[in-house]
Amino acid sequence: MSLSNALSLASAGLAASSKSAQVASENVANALTEGYARREVVRGPDGTVTTRRAEDVVLTAARRQATSGAEGARVTAEAADRIAGALGLPSDPASLSGRMDALDQALTSLISTPESRSLQRGAFAALDLAVTGIRDAASDLRAVREDADTAIGAMVTRLNAAIEDVHKLNGAIVGKSVARADTAALEDQRDRLIDEISGMIPLRVVDREDGNVALFSIRGAVLLDGRPEPFGFTPTATILPEMSQEGGQLSGLTLSGRDARIGDGRGILGGGALEAAFVIRDQTVPQATASLDAFAFSLADRLTRADASLAEGQPGALLDDGAALDPEAISGLAGRLTLNPALTDDTSWRLRDGIAAEAPGLTGRADQVIALRDALRTRETLPGGATSRDLATHLATLSAELNSNATRATRDADFARAERVGLSEQEAAAIGVDTDAELQALLLIERTYQANARVMQTVDQMFARLMEI
């Protein structure tokens, strides 16, 4: 071995040491950066030094799958919470149930003193509050549905952009890796994009040659393999309760121009936040709305039947957008329910004398009020329902069901989140930065550097000795 050879080896060692120190410092600097994978120094057989990202393919895939589940559960839980909130907790006086109870009480008070102007107005106000409550609940439900539709639109836009970006990064990574340049930063970026996509659709990431990746949904749809497959969706700004995807008024999802079935638990794109949003739009909210509509119809129908002043077919106290009720068109009724214009604060005596009464009747006659109150208390089935209950219990049962749905969805979301957090922590432990380990490595690097420097010094001295000869 010649002296100059030893000198160049020592110099390569110095370079390797400083490269390692640089990697260690980069790791320490990013110790708390989420999504940063630890860099490791790889020494080539020819003494060259390259870096590599730490990875744990199994944990990352498991964490991504857990992310899909957690995101889907979160979206579901948020919507379930809002749906339950639309009707409120039955024990809360401001809830719809509370308002129906207040109506019953106001009518009961009016029965004892039917001539009282203030009790008549109180009963009218209670009925008005109940109707407003039903309409507000319907509009809250509608907002949940519209928000789900908007969210789908935003997710689809984001999906297309993210898949396109992954595609571009694929290209850049291939270019760099051919040039043997450092691709770790680009891979970090690509991983973050893939994480984002997997929140919406559960993914399978397949490595192709030269650092390329291909993206498939877990259930087999191709999202990116050489070229990105575009998603298509058209958001609808105003969604009426009677509009549906089957009816053609709402947009479905397309992938590469073909209809992609989603939202029934079996579609190839299911399992993440995207499917959850479709389920909310196409199932959860329409079901809750239908129940509320049935309740609204029953309320209006009971009040109409109890009103002795009305002729057959004449509209009662509550109207469907100003017109008489139509038992064939219950869909969306809750949002259109209005008070009969004949019934106002000034004419609240009509609660005592009947909606069609021309003028106030006997001041102390409570028969009509008794009929109204007893109509609310009678056990009947709702349209499309099977169980006979009084109206307040029908409503309480509905909101209890929605509330327990919300509780269950929240619990599911909590479990899913805990699972994701656990896997994230495991993943971070496996591929994250341990500053203790880095500093330990740094101590070694320091020693190596000193040793190499010493070798150079010694070789230099040997050269000097040679020159003295």
Partner: protein, 325 residues
């Protein structure tokens, strides 16, 4: 966490998550301690919100029933006091007039009849009394008054007698069901339905000035007044005295009926009170948070959070960096 492998990020995330979870639990415990109510009613009722709401509804109905009974009771009390007044007006005068007329004390009988005629005004005044703007004896026509004035009554009655065929007891016809009194003098209405309690027990109606008992009393007073101008005052006064004496007993019967209704509803009220207590207790056992239990939980959480802070501080000083200086 997999042992043996660690990273700074994991440690930070784990500590953050643990302290967040503990703080949240601490918030809930603090609120429950200060309000005495459980925060999560869904969990407290084991998901059975409908049952909780059933209790709320029942409590509200009991409150409505109680106030309906109270209202009835107040009105019945006033009506009873008014009827007691009517009874007092009738009581001694009938038998005394009857006795005086039979014993031939014409002057005494006449003065008693004059007195009776004057008392008609008082009785009608009582029957037209109102409470809180509500006519007591006018049935569903709460605006009142229940009856026309005594003068009108006598004028209409005299006209009816004049128009009546010979030999008919025009006074009895006038005060009978569907007679002139009911159609021309009584200004109230039939009582409307009184409604019922939530248990289905009926509430009772107040008597009206059209009740047979009241009509009978007015008939006695009218007969006494008519006797003053009659051809055979003594015979008429004996008749009027008998009617008045009976009328006194009839009014007592009316008061008894009212008292029985009041008693029945008083018992209902006790039953409702007992049900209210048991329902409230059942509801409280679901929704209220036991202060001792909550306080213990709060203390436990506090200690846990403090321990976590200590661990956080220790862990952050446990780094090679601190030993490389």
């Amino acid at each position: 966490m997999i042992s043996g492998i660690r990273s700074d990020l994991t440690q930070m995330l784990a500590l953050q998550r643990q302290s967040r979870e503990l703080s949240h639990a601490l918030d809930i415990a603090t609120q429950e301690l200060s309000t005495g109510r459980k925060q999560d009613l869904v969990a407290a009722s084991e998901g059975n919100l409908a049952r909780l709401h059933g209790m709320d509804t029942r409590l509200a109905q009991i409150a409505s029933d109680q106030s309906a009974i109270d209202l009835f009771d107040r009105r019945a009390e006033l009506a009873d006091a008014a009827l007691a007044g009517v009874q007092e007006m009738l009581d001694p005068i009938g038998t005394e007039m009857q006795a005086a007329a039979i014993n031939g004390d014409a002057a005494r009988a006449r003065s008693l009849a004059t007195d009776a005629a004057a008392r008609m005004e008082g009785v009608i005044g009582i029957l037209n009394s109102t409470t809180g703007g509500r006519a007591l004896f006018a049935g569903a026509n709460t605006d009142g008054p229940a009856i026309a004035t005594a003068d009108t009554l006598m004028t209409v009655l005299r006209a009816a007698i004049a128009a009546a065929p010979e030999g008919e007891d025009a006074v009895a016809t006038f005060f009978a069901d569907g007679g002139g009194y009911e159609t021309l003098i009584y200004a109230g209405a039939e009582p409307g339905a009184a409604g019922s309690l939530s248990t289905g027990a009926p509430l009772a109606n107040m008597p009206t000035a059209n009740a047979p008992e009241i009509r009978f009393a007015l008939e006695g007073l009218a007969r006494a007044a008519l006797s003053l101008t009659a051809d055979d005052p003594v015979a008429r006064q004996i008749e009027a005295g008998a009617t008045l004496a009976n009328a006194g007993r009839e009014v007592i019967a009316l008061r008894e009926g009212l008292g029985a209704d009041r008693y029945r509803l008083e018992i209902m009220k006790d039953v409702l009170k007992a049900e209210e207590t048991s329902t409230s207790l059942a509801r409280a056992s679901i929704t209220s948070a036991d202060p001792h239990e909550t306080a213990a939980r709060l203390q436990g959480l506090e200690a846990q959070l403090q321990a976590l802070y200590v661990v956080t501080a220790r862990l952050s000083s446990l780094s090679i960096v601190n030993f490389m200086r």
